[in-house]
Amino acid sequence: MLFLFWGKELNGVSAIQLEDILYKVDETPILTGITGSFAEGAITTLVGPSGAGKTTLLKLCNGLLSPDEGRMTVLGKAIGDYEPTDLRRTVGMALQQAPMIPGTVYDNLNLPAVLKGETLREEEAGRLLQDVGLGPEYLKREADELSGGQQQKVSVARTLVNRPRILLLDEITSSLDRTSVKEVEELIQSINKKYKVTIIWITHNLEQAIGIGDSIWVMMDGELVDAGDRTILQSPRTERVRQFVEGERV
């Protein structure tokens, strides 16, 4: 119950609530007994070793996957009551590999609009690029010619085209050099402020987890083992978390 109320303590409203979530693949549990909530408007960081189920949890929130058991609500509404397309526009997700469709940066930014039968105005596309730290001059560039960091930024901007209320970022800093990582960290914080969007993001880097965001979830072996502010990593409350933190520091 500690986890369930952790998010609410921040500002009183939950963006996403999870109750006893079970997700399995071929009878193998990937997530077990996940209960907790993400506070609206806050930045929550998911940390944990590979295979902990962090990406799976984000995909459940975006509706790319459905839990086998348990209850999920998004902005107070049961996830099953959403049309899948509406849910995915409300809970936007930038995927880890930041896949680009063939074409220019504008073509990529225009994609969410095209999927709705609309067209994104170039000025709007330019503004979104500025918001993620790229200039409008990138609009005509071929997307596959951009660096990994630039593609990640385009991926975040593309997700923002739908004006999501909740933004999920899946390890968008994992394959970047140190300078790019710093830029993306600043980007997460500025997007959170400017768009007033709830952000849930995954990182392997404990320094980032401690430095960015309002709350932290530690996940291991498909379970949520602890949740709280940065102190849960600075002074671990359980043996499992302590071992994980020490392992990451080695």
């Binding site: 509706g63 995915r88 995927l95 999927l115």
Partner: protein, 249 residues
Amino acid sequence: MSFFTLSLTLIFVLIPLLLSKTFGLGLERDTLIATVRSIIQLLAVGYVLKFVFDSESLLYVFLMVALMIVAATHNARNKGASIKGITWKVALALVTVEVLTQGILIGFGITPATAQYIIPISGMVIGNSMVLSILFLNRFTSEVESRKPETDLILSLGGTPKQAIDRPLLSSIKASMIPTIESQKTVGLVQLPGMMSGQIIAGADPVQAVQFQLLILFLLLTTAAVTSILLGFLSYPTLFNERMQRIRN
């Protein structure tokens, strides 16, 4: 051609057998099986066709065409084993193509409704449709596999399954149709089509042989387009569930 003369053509089987043995290709057994099977199957078909032509019964024609569709479906379905209900989807595509093409041919009085025309033309249409199905299913399953990140991207941005699968689907449809279109561009320049050559050897007027060949070529264009598109649109929905999620295999 007498059976003695026909037996002399086995020289063309001996040559690859000797070459395979000499160069250690290990294809002797397969070559012999292919030869024996083709002799038995074609002779059997020859006698069956003679019986059907003599009987002048449309029921036998229907049964022959049904048999062709069953055999072609059985052959093509293995290539799309990962697609739910692929047997019925392939069968439906083949039946649709057969009904459409024969409907136009007979309906417009282009060919008469006799076994002599229906069976050979159906054989070409169904055979071509089967190859198209195999080409399409091969390409589609590999495209779906290799483009999973793009599919997930479009779904995650609020796209529908149709939008998410659009590129792999269209690219597979195009890829399976291209050989038919390309081969028609060089027809007559590089090779004479088998049916036309057969008619000319059998003593038919070359111009009439060309007319029938053109009919077949045009027919195969329709076959290619209808088979690929129909199979594509029947197949893609089975890759997603009702929550618009990609079904994981």
